[in-house]
Amino acid sequence: MNPNEHEEWQAMKIQWKSTSVAEMLMTQQLRWGLRLRMIGSWAWLGLEVAALLLITVLGIIQIAMGQAAVGSLYIVLALVGVGASWWTRRFSLRGASGSLLELVELSLRRARRGIRMAWANYFMTAASIVWVLVLYSSGIGDAQAAYHDGARVAAAMGMFGLYAIGVAVYHAYARRRVRRFVALRAQFAARAEEN
């Protein structure tokens, strides 16, 4: 083994011996968790965009069919959805270089975004309920249209209720994650003070 090789191995051995395995494994898990959440977040954004585009297209179709008032309500709902989506994602999540502290911080920010996402979904569910009720109770549009059918409106309300329950479950999960990462960050801060 030449001196350069020997030196390189020595440097790696020192690095290896100073490895805190628990910390390293935790870092890897956080990285994986963040990757999965990032993919999930993009997938959810894709669904939101698709839904909002669909509502917009339906609004345009209504306007083209001469139902300007109904079409406008569709467009308004889509705009409200765009606003809620922007509000959820208004802060960009910076990348972490790989240190455990940065990963914890990034996980915390993502968990907080999860809470904002839950609130945005509550808001959109409420907005959709109001929208359905406004369409149902007002005399606008075609009298034979689905939005004037009481049974369908009731079914829509049931779906909104189920969706809200789902959002509540996600909300509780996101809150738990925030508490967990806040505690983890506090533990690091306490250790730093001890040192």
Binding site: K13, Q15, W16, A22, Q28, Q29, G98
Partner: protein, 166 residues
């Protein structure tokens, strides 16, 4: 010295080494800990058969390696899964000073974990301060083969760590 006392000495002296060896073969924190526990159980069972033909460190490292390799082989037969962390708060984090440098250190372990098995085995032992001839004896390989593998592994490690850093 009773077997129990001897085992306790071994655990206190080589626990970190065993955990590091296991972590080189298993990325999941909980599974790596389980694997280390399995390795210690195997060491406990094998201890009465220890004949001092090799050092205790070699004896412990050999069993930990064998356990880790059979774990990798067993896992290769199972479908892949990645568990999400559910108990981060309960784990004891290391001092912040260590955490601040974790990116650099982490990249070495991460790079070792990515090495093909034939390179990972000698590298882990080399990093645990075994000499190339000891590694050859431990793995049942020719010393030249170990030298070649270590040389190639060093290049791969450098490459993997650079990729990790960029």
């Amino acid at each position: 010295m009773s077997q129990h006392a001897r085992f306790e000495d071994l655990v206190s002296e080589y626990q970190v080494m065993v955990v590091r060896i296991c972590a080189s073969y298993e990325r999941d924190r909980d599974l790596a800990r389980d694997l280390a526990q399995e390795a210690w159980f195997a060491i406990w069972r094998a201890l009465p058969a220890y004949r001092a033909e090799a050092s205790l460190k070699t004896f412990v490292a050999r069993i930990a390696q064998f356990r880790a390799i059979s774990h990798v082989a067993r896992r290769a037969r199972q479908p892949q899964r990645e568990a999400l962390s559910t108990d981060l708060v309960d784990q004891e984090p290391p001092p912040e000073s260590i955490a601040m440098a974790s990116a650099e250190r982490g990249s070495l372990l991460a790079a070792v974990q990515r090495l093909p098995l034939i390179y990972r085995q000698p590298v882990v032992l080399m990093l645990e301060d075994f000499s190339p001839s000891e590694i050859a004896a431990l793995l049942g390989l020719n010393a030249n083969v170990v030298g070649v593998r270590l040389n190639r592994a060093r290049g791969l490690l450098r490459e993997l760590m650079q990729r990790e850093a960029s």
